[in-house]
């Protein structure tokens, strides 16, 4: 048939690329978690010792839990900050809404490393925040309390993610049929009731997309904690990176990645009914 030949021609290159450079590496990572070491001859030996090590080492598990908590806090804060903005843009900004939205998105497209660097400057010992607190007399001498902590990681990541969360919430709010709100008003709902019983429930898919958009990369984050987190702010992604770069324990690193991947897939399965792919991509 013509149709099937067209489909095969169109779909073969992307399918092959994803199979070879995405699915295959994931399978290899799973296989690698059973190898004894990264290099021959340990490489050829298959063992469960890394599984036993991971299960026995509560420090790894605690760090994973802590990172999940940080990711949860960052997502919640980003959503709380972004929701009112998305609401304002969708319902009260009129013809200006796309321009105002673009203005908010632009900072998000400037270099990620440099935005982190900016926060390093702000939170540093002689940084903006410390100078400010000094000049208003809230503290008596510059203190490096702000940088190299979990708080620094959270603040920086919230800053990085807010615009990306505003996008899917905004699109979800835009999709709401305005006549539903009129109907609710006609039936005697107050503005608050209209929000709680119509707008908010209908915007939840956008909120869920925003949540995933932040939670997933934050749980796997290693660059931000490496730059502003210090020892206090180390996250699970940092110990994975460490296994591959410094400790050279690739099998253990593979296992750690696998555990995180499994958590993500579980989360995605939970959200699969509410979240639209296009919301995640912001299109």
């Amino acid at each position: 048939m013509h149709t099937s030949r067209r489909i095969i021609t169109l779909m073969t290159p992307p399918t092959l690329t994803l199979a070879v450079f995405f699915l295959l590496p994931m399978v290899m990572m799973a296989v690698f978690s059973f190898r004894q070491g990264a290099f021959s001859p340990e490489r050829e030996v298959f063992t469960l010792e890394h599984y036993a090590e991971f299960a026995a080492n509560t420090a790894y598990q605690r760090l994973l839990g802590e990172s999940a908590l940080i990711a949860l806090i960052v997502s919640a804060l980003a959503i709380l900050i972004a929701y009112p903005i998305a609401y304002f843009l969708a319902f009260h900004a009129g013809a200006m809404q796309l321009t105002l939205l673009t203005i908010l998105i632009i900072p998000a497209w400037t270099s990620y490393l440099l935005r982190i660097l900016a926060w390093k400057i702000i939170l540093g010992t002689n940084g903006l925040l410390n100078s400010l607190l000094l000049s208003v007399g809230l503290i008596s001498e510059a203190a490096p309390i702000l940088l190299y902590s979990q708080t620094a990681v959270v603040v920086t990541l919230v800053y990085v993610w807010v615009p990306f969360v505003a996008l899917p919430i905004f699109s979800a709010l835009q999709r709401i049929d305005r006549s539903l709100l009129e109907a609710a008003a006609d039936l005697g709902c107050t503005a608050w009731e209209r929000f709680v019983r119509v707008t908010l429930p209908l915007s939840l898919p956008g909120v869920a997309a925003g949540f995933l958009f932040v939670f997933i990369p934050t749980l796997g984050e290693w660059v931000t904690p490496a730059l502003v987190g210090g020892v206090q702010g180390t996250m699970y992604g940092n110990i994975i990176q460490d296994q591959f770069v410094r400790a050279l324990n690739w099998p253990l690193g593979s296992l750690m990645s696998l555990v995180m991947l499994a958590l993500m897939l579980l989360l995605l399965a939970l959200f699969s009914r509410t979240v639209r792919l296009s919301d995640l991509a912001g299109v």
Binding site: I7, I85, H92, A93, T110, L117, A118, I121, L280
Partner: protein
């Protein structure tokens, strides 16, 4: 709709915009400050960090690498994404849902996982790390986005145009070339630009896949360890920001032009 510029909503908007822009403006401010330490109070105004920037050979190499990497990997990602978009937007076939689910996965797995998995693949095959291996990573990162951007454009315009072309005797591939792709062109360019900005800025995956050559983010990260180099980096930051803003505006504008044309066509 009546707008009240002093309404709480708008004030909140201004506050958030300030929160988002101030850190960036801070970097710009320090790029003109005559001191190697990025602290207040400011010293005198200077251009010297920008002139030092021009003299850094490694930086120029890294910049060139990043541009080439961005161009090539985005071209490949956009081509693959467009093919996939044409397939999923116009045909229903067994495995379509599976393909959608798998092709979206790179968007929803942490970059560290993608980076180390590809590192294992290249190690297994004995492929030395280089800009090409980084490019593979960037293609995988960008394919889902390019696919969804083009697919949403394809879903947004009337299929009757394509059917009319075929009724008038044009082949399927002729219709693609002469009707579908021209209409989708703004979205394809927008997908390319969005890939390019991602690739140009990507660090978390590149870090695991880069060989001896640097990309710009890899170079930046290495320089962050040397405090005396910070002002130069900040000057670079200011330039890069201006550049990415221009790119984003171009990409947004193209998408709007495309959508506007889709409505009238």
């Amino acid at each position: 709709m009546r707008r009240d510029w002093l309404a709480p909503g708008f004030l909140y908007y201004l506050g958030l915009a300030a929160f988002l822009y101030l850190p960036i403006l801070l970097l710009v401010l320090f790029s003109f400050n005559d001191s190697t330490r990025l602290v207040f109070p400011l010293k005198t105004f200077t251009f010297k960090w920008y002139t030092e920037l021009l003299e850094a050979r490694e930086l120029r190499e890294a910049l060139l690498n990043s541009v080439l990497l961005g161009l090539i990997s985005s071209a490949v990602a956009t081509a693959l994404g467009t093919l996939a978009a044409l397939g999923i937007a116009r045909f229903n076939f067994p495995g379509r849902r599976l393909f959608l689910a798998i092709s979206a996965m790179p968007m929803v797995i942490p970059y560290v996982v993608l980076g180390v998995a590809l590192l294992l693949l290249f190690a297994q095959w004995g492929i030395p790390l280089s800009l090409w291996t980084v490019g593979v990573g960037h293609v995988i990162i960008n394919v889902p986005y390019t696919m969804l951007i083009v697919a949403s454009r394809l879903a947004g315009f009337n299929q009757n145009l394509e059917e009319a072309a075929m009724d008038l005797g044009e082949t399927y591939w002729g219709t693609l070339r002469r009707v579908t792709l021209p209409i989708a062109f703004p979205a394809i360019v927008s997908a390319f630009l969005s890939s390019f900005t991602t690739s140009f800025d990507e660090f978390a995956v590149s870090f695991f896949l880069v060989g001896t050559e640097s990309t710009l983010p890899i170079y930046l990260y290495s320089q962050l360890r040397f405090p005396s180099r910070l002002p130069v980096i900040v000057a670079l930051a200011a330039i890069l920001m201006a550049f990415s803003v221009a790119l984003v505006l171009a990409s947004e504008w193209l998408r709007r032009v495309g959508q506007a044309r889709g409505v009238s066509g």
